[in-house]
Amino acid sequence: MLRYTLLRILGAIPTLLLVIALAFLMVHAAPGGPFDDERALSPEIEANIAAAYHLDEPLPKQFLRYMGGLLRGDLGPSYRYLDYTVSELIAIGFPYSMRIGAAAMALALLIGVGAGTVAALRQGALLDRIVMGFSMIGISIPVFVVAPVLVLLLAVKLHWLPAGWTETGDLRRYLLPVITLALPQIAYIARLTRASMIDVLSRDFIRTAYAQGLGTATVVRVHALKPAMLPVLSYMGPAIAAVLTGSVVVEEIFGIPGLGQYFIGGALNRDYTLVLGIVVFYATLIIALNLLVDILYGVIDPRVRYR
């Protein structure tokens, strides 16, 4: 297990380096500097700004400087929020995104696995078709369509929930964003669970369990659930990436001051360091979480450790 874990960690490092190098190159290949404004600056001032941000150095040196900063957790200064470093902005925005993302993930797993299992047990029946029909709808309809329609319906027309973001401790403000973000994941997880549950339920050891006189609930809970969860577990990587992407939209629509807002703001304002920093941060997060999923996979299914 230790060997497997170490190998996985070693395997993730080149991926991470590749991502950082790619993002860095893209940002620095951009035509026009971040300080090009309508107002022309004198060459001396431009030179001073370039020197202050080390933009006058050759690219490899800038990259090494950036990597050195990364190792110390320093993502450089923001070009637009002059009093903040990128790390500080991430520290401000990320907690909101994390709470929404984590809650959406938990909700998706709970409902997705539940619905998928029920559908598998009633394969072909009306309930199964309803679950599958809804999940196809959930997969097809994008977050940026679901979110405004839910706001229109539940907040604007029916006044059940707050439409925007309030700086009070009201937990209901999280409800709509979390549901919106969770819906497509519920749909995917339900489909995955159903397919793998149907497969597992047809195996010999399940027949044996039934033959021992166990009830359906016990068979599913004790015997079928763990092997059926493996495909769902390997979907967690893409799911996390999808939730982070969806979070950008959800934050935009609900006006949540999360990391997604900073990202879009940075993109529209050409705040290169901020955009680069957030890409690097998200990529690291996704790769780290993927690593965690891989290791968990090894814990649950010993067979993968020896491949």
């Binding site: 709808i137 529209l268 290169y272």
Partner: protein, 271 residues
Amino acid sequence: MSGNRTIKVTGTVLLAIAVMALVGPWISPNDYVATDLDLILKPPSANGMHWFGTDGLGRDLFVRTMHGIRVTMLVAVVASLVSLVIGVAYGAIAGFVGGRVDAVMMRLVDTLYALPFIFFVILLMVAFERNFLLIFVAIGAINWLDMARIVRGQTLSLREREFVEAARLTGVSTARIVFRHIAPNLMGIVIVYVTLTIPQAILVESFLSFLGLGVQEPQTSLGALVDAGVNQMERAAFALLIPASLLAVILMCFNFLGDGLRDYFDARHSQ
């Protein structure tokens, strides 16, 4: 719904939408850029032929929506073709050559899977001017990974089949085997995955346009229309609901069509 009926129904709906998008602006007397400040956010009516109402600048939403569908579909089809070319070439080479080349090529695909691609596309949009061609290429460049994997798997199994062995024994060149004997057998699965790539490309395009990073005014796409609708939804719900539901229907039809085609080809294979 049985496989065949799904294909027919969703195919018909998509065709109808495509025809409407092509013919609609031609039937309507209105123009998609002409503003009319006397007609701001008017709900749908036959009066003045504003069947989908008007937007915040008094532009006719029917023509704009049809225009948006054209742009969205065009982006999706071109992006899918880009991903088709990259994915099939990559997958077929990896699968046919096999061995160490295959291992390295597929390892690269695994690595790329781990990347938050959408953020790179946004980065690309920021770094370079938002031009249309770039959107196509960027979206296509994201979506080839699935195609490469599927094609590789299929090629691996085809490579061992008797007819390929027979071709090799009779002295057919490798290139000719790949193009004449392997490629035609990949058609079914490729058609299925192109159908499933199109909705993904539509999603990315509308996502970017929704964030204001995609198509630029006065051009429009379904994503941009949804974005505009969100800003007006308290006064004019129709401006949100019409493009949003059209987008949803299109995406759903493509997904169901892909599923239906997969079942259809699976059934044919197992016979």
